[in-house]
Symmetry: C2
Subunit: 338 residues, 2 copies
């Protein structure tokens, strides 16, 4: 039988990350597994937020040994199809609302969910509040290219952006990459359809002018093909374009894996090559997969919030928790402003 | 010595395609080579448009055998950095202006240029005129995915689009795919950051509503990751997003090739695999490379115009000419309306 721990007994020496057990395609089991993986880090305490019975059963199934995690009961679940604002208002005992409130009350330092992105963003924005100077929080994704990590934001929180919002994203991205990756004066690129200042839609053209005067290391417009070339540390874009960029990368990665697998499978002479090339292909796909860094970072709210991909497995959840921990250690939320 | 042919002796049985010899990173030599490759098709006559001396010298260097091509003198060159409208007005004897005017006068049925895209679009729009119902011509790119070809438009002619323009793109794309690829009732997808009608920026949301009522086979929003999955025959988007999509694909393709090459080079045991996998990688890259179909299609003007990639080599130019021929044979320009 799993040992029961209660939220009332905090271990203040540990960093506490609240985890939404009910969010994601493979919830609750993979999420619980991911929480247990992360809790092997002795500096971490993971709060599993979800229906107590479900969480306990999940822990038992994992052969839970009895340390590093606590359960916080939340009886309701916000589904992927739920309308965010309505769900937040009506499902007050959902794992998302309860998890965010743990952050608000200081009972956790970070929150991770692979659930309904809109609901997480809305709950965080309404409950935790926005940072000073931030019109709208943004979702950021980190791509681990061979040339170094690049933070792309917004990747979907704001389909419609005003130029000043793009400037705020630049400030937030700059702070993040400096704090978390130790990059001095991160290079900020503005995603556009050409390098020249005159390129882009009107919003991008205006943002370009504003960024030239902003207190960030603005290097100008960056094109899609420059992305894996290491020309910038932060890529600023609206949530519509950023989301399409992200998902196109995913689609291309999938296509590639299938094409290579089909060829290799069909040819027995390639047995040796399979062993060598499979990890190479995996690493290329990994570069296009922001979940390698645990998911999307919600920047601009008063707290460290990570939104995992819906398809997050245990490893992705573990990575998300590790990313949340890193944010806590580096004081990202405190440093953030638009 | 190369045999000289003059524009004055048309062979009316052949399809005449005018080729801008001075456009592209590898002009004039690769362009001339491409023209000669295409002219091996006995149904084609290629008009090489450029400074006569340069073209003749280029032909000699290729060991030109004396048939299938003609030279049309054009003494000026529009550079990649030239401002389109100004260049069109001041360089009246440029290969782009002269080539487009051959179309206008009916002395050629198609025009191919790998030069300054803005200048080609502007010259075509001003000289040939727009088709009825078309607010602004669009540039289309065809990706040859394993699931079938997909036409993506606009890929860069219009960074700022109104909803009605996106609807016109849908109509043009539908006609193209039906005419050229024989696809009955082509499936039209609208690129967005989610499948639901409520997703997307305001322009996309409005376009979605309009497309539901339009006389095209509209299948709804399509996400970036669906692109290689064969869910649509035509992908409608604004030129800003389309361009970023296109160039991101290019960048990812490059990254992939480098990663695989590096691994294969460093491992002598992979000699056999190299032979087998190189064409596979090339074919995946080819799927992301719209120049496999010869370049971008300028749709919505009164004529068949193809804009090649700046990096076009002889083969890409040959493909562009073949695509122009196909448009002529299928009567694309005549059928087109917004």
């Amino acid at each position: 039988m799993a040992k029961k721990k209660e939220i009332k007994k905090p271990d203040n020496k540990k960093i506490r990350i609240a985890l939404d057990v009910m969010g994601g395609d493979y919830a609750p089991q993979e999420i619980i597994k991911g929480g247990l993986l992360a809790s092997q880090d002795s500096e971490l305490e993971v709060l599993l937020v979800g229906p107590e019975k479900t969480v306990k059963e999940g822990l038992e199934r994992c052969g839970y040994s009895g340390s590093g995690v606590s359960i916080v009961n939340a009886s309701e679940v916000i589904g992927m199809g739920d309308a965010p604002v309505l769900a937040i208002k009506t499902k007050r005992d959902s794992s998302i609302v309860v998890g965010i409130e743990l952050l608000k009350r200081g009972e956790a330092s970070g929150f991770v969910s692979a659930g309904n992105t809109g609901a997480v963003v809305t709950a965080a924005t309404l409950t935790l509040g926005k940072k000073k100077g931030v019109s709208r929080p943004a979702l950021g994704a980190i791509f681990g290219f061979p040339t170094g990590p690049i933070l792309c934001l917004d990747i979907g929180a704001n389909a419609e952006c005003k130029p000043e919002m793009l400037v705020q994203f630049a400030h937030m991205g700059s702070i993040y990459m400096e704090k978390v990756f130790g990059i001095p004066q991160p290079r900020i690129g503005l995603l556009s359809n050409g390098e020249e200042e005159t390129k882009g839609c009107k919003t991008v053209q205006k943002a370009h002018k504003m960024l030239k005067k902003a207190k960030v290391n603005f290097i100008g417009n960056v094109e899609g093909r420059d992305l894996p070339r290491g020309v910038a540390d932060v890529l600023v874009t609206d949530g519509f374009t950023g989301n399409i960029l992200l998902k196109t990368g995913e689609g291309i990665g999938e296509m590639l894996v299938h094409a290579l697998r089909d060829t290799m499978k069909g040819n027995p002479r390639l047995n040796e090559a399979v062993d060598i090339l499979t990890p190479v292909v995996a690493s290329v796909i990994g570069m296009l997969d922001y979940t390698e860094y645990g998911g999307a970072l919600l920047l601009g709210v008063e707290g460290n919030v990570i939104v995992g991909h819906g398809r997050s497995n245990a490893l992705a959840i573990k990575n998300a928790i590790t990313t949340a921990k890193r944010e806590v250690v580096q004081g990202v939320a405190e440093a953030m402003k638009g």
